[in-house]
Amino acid sequence: MEQLTPTMPASQPGGAAAVNPLALLLPPGNILCDLDVPSKGRALEAIGRLLGERHGLAPAAVAAALAAREDLGSTGLGQGMAIPHARMKGLRHVIAGFVRLLLPIPFDAPDSKPVSAMLVLLVPERASEEHLQLLAWAVQMFADRRFREELGQCADAEAIHRLFACWTAR
């Protein structure tokens, strides 16, 4: 996994009383547990339906934007984790979703391993440094082995939401 040093001053990982900014963006209703799909394409479609319905976006447009980003290079990180993301026209604020898959799916990740969990971020068209920091934060969170293990053991969306809220950088 890549090295990074997030620099968002208000909520820097490792800083005192840092609040995980991802937890604030991720209500339990945006979390899908044990989604049963056979491929990356189907997973992105399911995410389009979930976030489209909850935030008034066209599901097909969400799936297409996420797929376009994947074409630049897989958003798989390794160790079964991925962070699909996309810039969306007309979006005013960041939308996050999380999907845990029933069985891992092929994802062209750098370690060639299939992916079992995806954090999804939709960001406004005019991207800022803040959005890159959110991605960096997510990468660091998924690099934490204990977090990955606990993620697999969560019983439901509420538990996953609480896990995100409790996570602090080591």
């Binding site: 290079g73 958003t75 069985l103 990740a109 391993k113 299939p114 990468v139 082995r145």
Partner: protein, 308 residues
């Protein structure tokens, strides 16, 4: 564990088996995994299983400690130059005898667990072409240092290995190469494994060691490294000692065409299954600088002028 839970675990292996079906894995076998009875059985079971679910393993082994032990019993002191065993004719006879015996033992173990292993030396079908290795002169000397019958690999013909794979056999290779006149050369097993992984364009080169992998300055295992990051870690002393030749074999393999190389802990039971069939992997992965790099790709994407 309930039957339901067991079934779930088996079902979870499917995506990994599917992803690696028909792919070649070159496994350098050595360390404790080759000397402790329980680990030997676990290794042989893992190799048989990987083949039976559709992958193409190749096992490469050396026999360094066992060779040194037998020479010692014969009253011969082993000498090394830059990690290479100085090999005169008597030593070469011992090398061939010891690695040949180990080879048959490994073949037998894999076969006991349901695999179809075939023992090979680089002389079989003349598939490893070797030439005498010459080390640069030492001290003030002008002549190359002669270390006897130690070989460098000239080239490898993969036809024999591919033929065995197409019929479901598992090649088990001892590190003996053949010179132009058919003479035998002793070759370092890490080098043989690395070159085989390159030539076969293997999915993974897996080096089984007695370490947890590359350890960083905080004492934690590094899970992944790009080939471009290795030099800096050697320069600052993070990678040192016995890890250096392993890293060199890994970097060469990846630069030469293997998808990735893995330095794993052979002291862990079922090390191979954990590495290949679970999300975590158990050692350090070395991969090429090509392919996706999440943060760099994301930065490029987020700062491009037009959104989709």
């Amino acid at each position: 564990m309930s039957i339901r839970h067991k079934a779930q675990i088996l079902a979870e292996a499917l995506p990994y088996i599917r992803g690696f079906h028909g792919k070649t894995f070159v496994i350098k076998y050595g360390g404790n995994a080759m000397t402790e009875a329980a680990l030997k059985n676990s290794f042989a079971r893992d190799v048989a299983m990987l083949q039976l679910v559709g992958m193409n393993p190749v096992v490469v082994h050396g026999g360094g400690p066992q060779i040194t032990e037998l020479l010692g019993k014969m009253g011969v002191q082993s000498t090394f130059r830059r990690g290479m065993r100085v090999t005169d004719e008597r030593t070469m006879n011992v090398v061939e005898m010891v690695v040949g015996e180990l080879n048959q033992e490994i073949v037998g173990l894999i076969n006991q667990h349901g695999g179809k292993a075939v023992g090979l030396s680089g002389q079989d079908g003349h598939f490893i072409h070797a030439r005498k290795m010459l080390l640069p002169p030492e001290g003030d000397g002008k002549d190359a240092t002669d270390i006897g019958l130690v070989g460098d690999i000239e080239r490898i013909d993969t036809e024999l290995i591919s033929l065995l794979h197409t019929r479901g056999f598992i090649p088990v290779v001892m590190p003996i190469g053949a010179g132009a006149e058919g003479e035998a050369f002793n070759i370092n097993a890490d080098i043989v494994a690395g070159r085989l992984a390159q030539t076969l364009r293997a999915e993974k080169l897996i080096l089984m060691t007695n370490t947890p992998g590359v350890i960083d300055r905080r004492g934690e295992r590094v899970t992944a490294l790009g080939v471009g990051e290795v030099d800096a870690l050697i320069a600052d002393g993070t990678i040192h000692g016995g890890m250096l030749p392993k890293l060199a074999a890994a970097v060469d393999a990846v630069k030469g065409g293997a998808s990735s190389a893995h330095i794993i802990d052979g002291r862990v039971a079922n090390a191979l299954l954990l590495e290949v069939l679970t999300s975590e992997g158990i050692g350090t992965m070395i991969r090429g600088d090509n392919g996706p790099h999440f943060l760099a790709d994301s930065k490029r994407y987020l700062t491009a002028p037009d959104a989709a």
